[in-house]
């Protein structure tokens, strides 16, 4: 009898081993042991030949590249989870009140299905610097131009030999006298930008302070500098100011032949100014993936990917709020905002914390999106810990010591989240 019992015990152990064995072997060999090994490697030089103590950790916190990566990751952890959770909360509330709530959820959640690489390609197109190609800059430039239209004559200059002086983007003549037509030659306008209503330039009969602003350049060359040659074109619509003793006395606009006149200024000396507004260059949009904006831009792409996740999780939390609590607050006369602020948010707080913690772990490990979205030229400015770990370990240097130290740093940073998970697990099991 006893023999059979111990047989059964041995059988039991064998079965446990059969069921659990494969998983344990894989986890020990490829996860658990490597963690210990990485800690060990982090105490050695790049090829592992020399013990350097905490040298790699010292380097990690002093070398510019790694410091930049740590700083950027700090920005990520502070900004991204909070924004994702807030947007998720707003959208979760919206889904309850919007027609087509299901479609709304599906649209926002869909980016979760695609890879960071595909999302990166998508946002490379969005962030294209050229407003002719990148949709974001097209929108930004369009909005900007609606309020401040670009001027026609940007990029124009005076001839080097002329006596026009360029001041703060405007052009200023020396003092001229009323009664003598003023000639103001400009160059540097591509013919295709010439306004369609422009006519050949001509001088003005001298009645008061008058003059001509024209394009002192002939198609195919030729002509005399500073002189209105027969086929040279006037510049219409140029804002011209007459200035006396530093004060603007009068302002007018040139006609189709480039002529302007201040008939009321019949005598005396003035300076003529072609206002800066004639020459403001068009707004070119922002360099989203350039050194200064690259990290915020990547964070926006990240939010695009993860907001739907936060929304679905929070919406589930909202659905479990007892309707009576909301009704009671409304009947007590609370406005919608007060209900949201004082009833809804406190009731979904546990879910909000789960989303925040999840996003923090996720953001600590952010890698693909930065690698794909940051162009090589601004990768240093966009650097994060996981990317720097890859760069120093596998990007050519093969510095396994520093790479291991960075790995250990990431591991230490997710430890609180690990404890949070375990505590939650134990609470739910008791």
């Amino acid at each position: 009898m006893q023999g059979r019992a111990s047989d059964r015990l041995r059988d039991g152990r064998l079965i446990v081993l059969l069921f659990l064995g494969p998983a344990m072997v894989v986890l020990l060999a490829l996860v658990a042991y490597p963690i210990v090994n990485t800690v060990w490697l982090s105490l050695f030089s790049s090829d592992g030949s020399q013990f350097v103590g905490l040298g790699n950790y010292n380097e990690m916190f002093t070398a510019p590249d790694t410091r930049r990566a740590i700083l950027n990751n700090t920005i990520w952890v502070i900004v991204a989870p909070a924004v994702v959770t807030s947007i998720g909360l707003v959208c979760a509330v919206l889904t309850e009140r919007v027609r087509l709530g299901t479609a709304f959820k599906a649209v926002l959640f869909m980016p979760m299905a695609i890879s960071f690489l595909a999302a990166g390609v998508t946002f490379r197109l969005v962030y294209d610097e050229n407003p002719e190609r990148g949709v974001l800059n097209a929108v930004v430039v369009g909005a900007h131009d609606a309020f401040a239209p670009p001027s026609v004559y940007y990029g124009m200059s005076s001839r080097p030999e002329s006596d026009l002086s360029a001041v703060d983007g405007a052009f200023l003549t020396p003092e001229v006298n009323a009664g003598t037509p003023v000639l103001i030659p400009l160059v540097g306008l591509p013919f295709e930008r010439l306004p369609s209503d422009a006519r050949p330039a001509s001088a003005v009969p001298a009645r008061g302070l008058t003059g001509t602003v024209w394009l002192d350049f002939l198609r195919g060359g030729g002509g005399t500098a500073g002189v209105i040659d027969p086929t040279e074109t006037g510049l219409p619509g140029v804002r011209v100011s007459a200035i006396k003793e530093g004060e603007v006395i009068a302002t007018t606009t040139t006609d189709a032949n480039g002529r302007f006149a201040f008939p009321q200024l019949s005598s005396g000396g003035y300076r003529i100014r072609l206002d800066e507004a004639n020459f403001t260059p068009p707004f070119a949009g922002a360099t989203w993936l350039g050194p200064t904006l690259v990290t915020p831009s990547i964070i926006v792409a990240y939010i695009w990917i993860w907001a739907g996740f936060a929304m679905v999780l929070i919406a589930a939390g909202l659905a479990s709020i007892p309707r009576e609590a909301l009704e009671a607050a409304r009947i007590d006369g609370a406005g919608e905002w007060q209900v949201f602020r004082h009833v809804t948010v406190p009731l979904v707080r546990p879910v909000l914390i789960v989303v925040l913690v999840t996003m923090m772990i996720n953001v600590l490990k952010i890698f693909d999106l930065v690698l794909v979205l940051a162009p090589d030229s601004s990768q240093d400015e966009a650097n994060v810990i996981a990317l720097e770990m890859y760069r120093v370990s596998f990007g050519g240097d093969l510095n396994f010591g520093l790479g291991s130290a960075l790995g250990v740093l990431l591991f230490l940073l997710v430890l609180p989240a690990m404890l949070f998970n375990i505590r939650r697990l134990r609470r739910e099991h008791t």
Binding site: G12, R13, V16, L18, F19, P22, V26, L27, A29, L30, V31, P34, I35, C91, A92, L94, T95, T102, A106, V107, M110, A113, S115, F116, L117, A118, T122, L125, V126, E132, W304, F309, V312, A315, A316, A319, S320, R323, L326, I331, T358, I361, N362, D368, V372, I385, M389, Y390, S393, F394, L406, L410, F411, V414, A417, N421, I422, R424, L425, R426
Partner: protein, 306 residues
């Protein structure tokens, strides 16, 4: 029976009903409500547009020649639909590097998913229903491993694979994915299996079924929703991976993400390959998303802790 202890199991359905309004609000009140209702609809539409435009832009760009793409924006397809062409996709089908990398993605993803599900389910069953000392501690250790960043293991694993002579091969990528997929798989499945009524197992045991029979005939059929969610989650996780491929695969064995990343070094001149390539790489995940929406959401949400 709870699906997972981590999060509730939400679904992509309207969350609850709109609360009933208090009776008979005054007329100004009603107008205000209507207006704010309209504002809410408009905001929602604006948000949807912001979420759709980037993907639409990629789709449109992939259907234009690179000359068109470098000279004008994708939105010109609205004014000049004639520029739409399938040429990029045709040349993609003739691009051996891309085709091979797509095949590699399949070669990596399918075994990684099957192995994680099989090994994970067996371990989960042991942790849920077999008695042995230290079981709870072991489960907690496995849960602890869920959030471990891959960066803390890739260097030793690269050395190990090198010593085994598989570094750079598809098997190395698979092995690493299986290892880092298991903790979450075990966690998810154990919690589901543990919720299966004990009577069912007892009945099968009394009938003399071996543990393997019970596993196959009782646990797997009842636990299949969890298995399906896990499989989908793991499948997408591996399909979309770039980091593991960059570290462990040579370019011959690299998946599509790796191949496209190579092309991105010269983004604007290669957009005719990158655009359609990225779109093709998205087709499978998007199909999974729409076809198995419910399991997908459950899997992704439960896997959020990863």
């Amino acid at each position: 029976m709870s699906f997972t202890s981590t999060v509730a199991v939400p679904q992509l359905e309207p969350a609850g009903s709109v609360p009933a309004r208090p009776p008979k609000p005054s007329l100004p009140n009603r107008i205000a409500r209507r207006l704010s209702g309209l504002v809410v609809q408009v905001i929602a539409l604006a948000i949807m547009a912001m979420w759709l435009v980037p993907s639409f832009g990629l789709a449109a760009a992939s259907l234009r020649t690179s000359a068109d793409n470098s000279s004008s924006g994708w939105w010109t397809v609205f004014s000049r639909p004639a520029q739409l062409t399938l040429d990029n996709y045709k040349s993609l089908l003739a691009n051996e590097t891309i085709l091979r990398s797509l095949w590699n993605t399949v070669l990596i993803t399918v075994p990684s998913t099957l192995l994680v599900v099989a090994i994970g389910a067996m371990a989960a069953y042991a942790l849920a229903w077999l008695d042995f000392p230290g079981r709870d501690l072991l489960f907690i250790l496995v849960v602890a491993l869920i959030v471990v960043p891959v960066q803390v293991a890739i260097i030793p694993d690269a050395k190990l694979f090198n010593a085994l002579g598989i570094y750079g091969s598809v098997s190395a990528v698979i092995a690493f994915h299986v290892a880092f997929g298991l903790p979450f798989a075990i966690f998810l499945l154990r919690n589901f299996f543990a919720g299966i009524p004990k009577d069912l197992l007892e009945a099968a045991r009394i009938d003399g079924g071996s543990e393997f029979t019970i596993f196959r005939r009782v646990i797997l059929p009842i636990g299949w929703p969890a298995v399906a969610s896990l499989a989908i989650f793991q499948f997408l996780w591996v399909w979309n991976d770039l980091l593991v491929a960059l570290v462990f695969a040579t370019s011959d064995n690299a998946p599509i993400t790796y191949a496209l990343r190579e092309q991105m070094r010269a983004f604007s001149s290669n957009i005719d390959v990158i655009g359609p390539g990225a779109f093709v790489s998205m087709i499978v995940p998007l199909f999974v998303f729409f076809a198995f929406q419910r399991y997908f959401v459950q899997g992704v949400l439960a896997g959020s802790v990863k």
